[in-house]
């Protein structure tokens, strides 16, 4: 059984927003709703400066707090570890939004349904990559099976010592190289 995860190498990310826009189109999101947010971290003093861009989306936490607080079980984790929302069951109570440490969830203004990055589950089911990964212009994103030690993503995690964004907040399935 696959367990899906991703590496984001911020040393390669140029902050081009291609992942955000392709995600919005893939998921037919309204323009002001996005599953990917960007944080910038500037360090140093001119002219010795470094700038890091950190794309953040749902981290597909193991033991996800958004899953445990959901009163209707609308948010659930698939066997492959992808955290999804069943829009038919979601009552828009926003408990999950409060529970998520990463601010990864957004509510649809029209339907009230809360959504977030879904690892493009239907593309993955077809053996394709999530939209953000396939369009990343610098190959800063790698996606695949964390349980397969030979997958590109597993090898990248080992090779680059990738870590969850906030290991203190529990295990996640997106690993960052910084």
């Amino acid at each position: 059984m696959a367990r899906y995860g991703m590496v984001i190498d911020t040393r390669k990310c140029v902050g081009c927003y291609a992942c955000r826009v392709s995600c919005q189109m893939q998921n037919e999101l309204p323009v002001e709703e996005s599953y990917i947010k960007f944080y910038e971290k500037e360090t140093g003093v001119f002219p010795n400066v470094k700038n890091e861009i950190i794309p953040v989306q749902c981290q597909h936490c193991e033991d996800a707090p958004c899953v445990s607080v959901c009163p209707t079980k609308a948010t659930y984790t698939t066997k492959e570890g992808i955290v999804l929302v069943d829009s038919d069951k979601c009552i828009g109570c926003k408990y999950c939004m409060v529970a998520c440490h990463y601010g990864a969830r957004t509510q649809d203004h029209n339907t009230g349904v809360v959504e977030k990055c879904r690892f493009c589950a239907e593309l993955v089911a077809e053996g394709k990559q999530p939209a953000c990964v396939s369009t990343c212009i610098s190959n800063a994103r790698i996606f695949g099976d964390l349980d397969d030690p030979n997958s590109e993503v597993s090898k990248a995690i080992i090779k680059m010592n990738a870590q969850p964004l906030r290991p203190d907040l529990g295990k996640a399935k997106i690993y960052y190289v910084r």
């Binding site: 140029v14 291609a18 323009v31 140093g44 002219p47 239907e122 190959n139």
Partner: protein, 731 residues
Amino acid sequence: MVDTKLSRRGFIKASAATAALASAGTVGFNEWSNQYVKAGANADIKEIPSTCNACSSKCGMIGHVKNGRLWKLTGHPDHPYSKGKLCARGHGYATVVYSQDRLTQPLKRVGEKKFEPITWEQAYKEIAEKLNKIIKEYGPQSVALTEDPRASGKFYSPRFINALGSSNYYTHHVVCSNSRDSGFLHTVGVSSTSADISNAKYIMFIGRSYGDGIRPSSVQALAAAKDNGAKIVIVDPRLNNTGNLATEWLAIRPGTDLALVLVMSHVLIKENLHDMEFIKNYTVGFEEYAKELKKYTPEWAEKITGISADSITRIAIDMGKAKPKALIEQSWRGAFGCNYENSTETGRSVAMFNALLGNYQQKGGSIFGGKPNLGNLNESIHPNPKEPEAPKAGKKEFPLAYHSHGVATIVAKEALEGKMKAAIYYHSNAALGYGNPKVMKEALSKMDLVVAIDVQMSETAQLAHYVLPEVTYIERDEVIEGLSGKIPGIALRQQMVEKVHPETKPIHEIYSELAKVCGVGQYFNFSLDELNEAMLAPTGITYKQLRDIGTIMFQNEEITLGEMPKLKTPSGKVEFYSETYKDAGFKPIVEWIEPKVSPADDSFRLITGKQAIHSHTQTANIPILMQITKDYDLERIWINPVRAKALGIKDGDMVELKSSEATSRIRVKITERIHPEAIFVPSHYGITSKDLKIGQGIGFGYMEHVPFDFEKWSGAGNIHEVIVKVRKVKS
């Protein structure tokens, strides 16, 4: 398999009846969108290969069309620029097809900023009458055509203006690459080379940012070079977004890149690290050049550039040691694009520096690409209007300018002088983007006839007498695009969805029909398909094959590296000494030239550049892209904290920015990523057209602050020769 109930907005939305749309054919926007909402389940998804139009790169892409409506895009895996990926603009700009602000029918100006819809017949008739009258009265050279060229435009636009008897064909390069083009052309015989980035060991970028002015394959190549341990140096007054991929940032004083390159060249020769073999075989004038360079010492350059003599020497030596897998990237715009009075000389010095490294046509170096061998129309049946003998306007003033692109702003200058009487602008927002908008506006209003062909009511369209609505690139087929490079190839832009607005037309139809009414229809007596078939003939590829695949690369025509071609310079070699320059009244050997203006202690140089999500001003009205600007306040100006503090300015403050030309109000981003002498403003904002509701009023247009001025060598706009003062104001 993924175990999941695929509950997802997209799939839910598209779940109802589907037939309506499929049979809808050509309908109006409102009707169209209503039907789309009603349309539904069993989404019928088609994948159509085509090419992007969101910037000049024209990457190959695949449109995913769901129930007849464009759903999403992916990068074409075979296309050399996309390599399977698209940038944010590429994804987002495509939504222009469904923009509420599109032009939907021909318009005629009936008063200041007042237009009324007319039929195509009336538009053609009146435009043709006026054009012919102007040509009769003032001669064909009083008419000009300017565009930001794409595949069809590149073929039809010059043909159209030449058919009218005028040689005045221009491109947007006047604010893009004119300087670089001239500098390169007269040194290595081509206006641009390409760079073998992924194989390079040492790469220097001057004022060019792959992460901001994106072409997906270039970023992929740079990331690969980084993985391979290449040294990547960014020379830029601001730490641009390629910074993450770089090993070093040289925060150079704006306008002094030329000094840096001259000195690095000197160091290379002094340290005996230049490629003597290459120089002997493939260059002329080396002795004089080397002698002249002696006066440029690292200490001299340190004072001018603000980069330490040690760093300059170290980098030059390291590049020399890494040769021929070392290069200064050829750039587009940036430092040796079009920005300073000395930019052509910078371009020239870069082409020469690469020659010193002997990197031409070498793995990891600068590449002269090969072109695909495409066919032509049979001239005996389809006569081709030759470019008229009369010199293109601007040729006399700027003899070094790259002829094919010309100096587009000369049209405005000659209009102000009463010489240019008519101008056609296709896919070009010259009034906002090419020169000071006030001057451009005055110039356009002096002309007897201005025609704008566009998909939206740009600032230029607002100043036109006639506005002709084109279909978007999502709704049209185009002329085959030849791809030159290490491996040549071809790509096709083809229609993905039915026309949304019935009264819009593709450009080839507009030119062909207008030509007929103008009385020069004989030059347009073929269909687009006939033209494309003729172009394909020598390749052995059928039109159907190309339509099915979209991009075809000719792998067996890959150029051989290590073999220098004969160059198209007068000597056939790299010219360290240029008779052409001499004949044109310039120094035959490259030399240091001061920027035209410099800031004082209480002022700044205003510099501009790209952001990854926008192209010129054409994307400013695209909601999905402009939302990113809003979410991250990307329209702000960048100021260094030391300078900001002295002026009492805090991050996010509103300031007034004042130059000799204009005053703007804008909020501030305080960042260590900018040279204290400069203020950076992204180049995509300042939309004033009230018909572009999304973009209007966001940020300011930097061109408002740019004097209407030409760089002496190439005619490029001196768009970085601007001094501004800022002061805090209440928001």
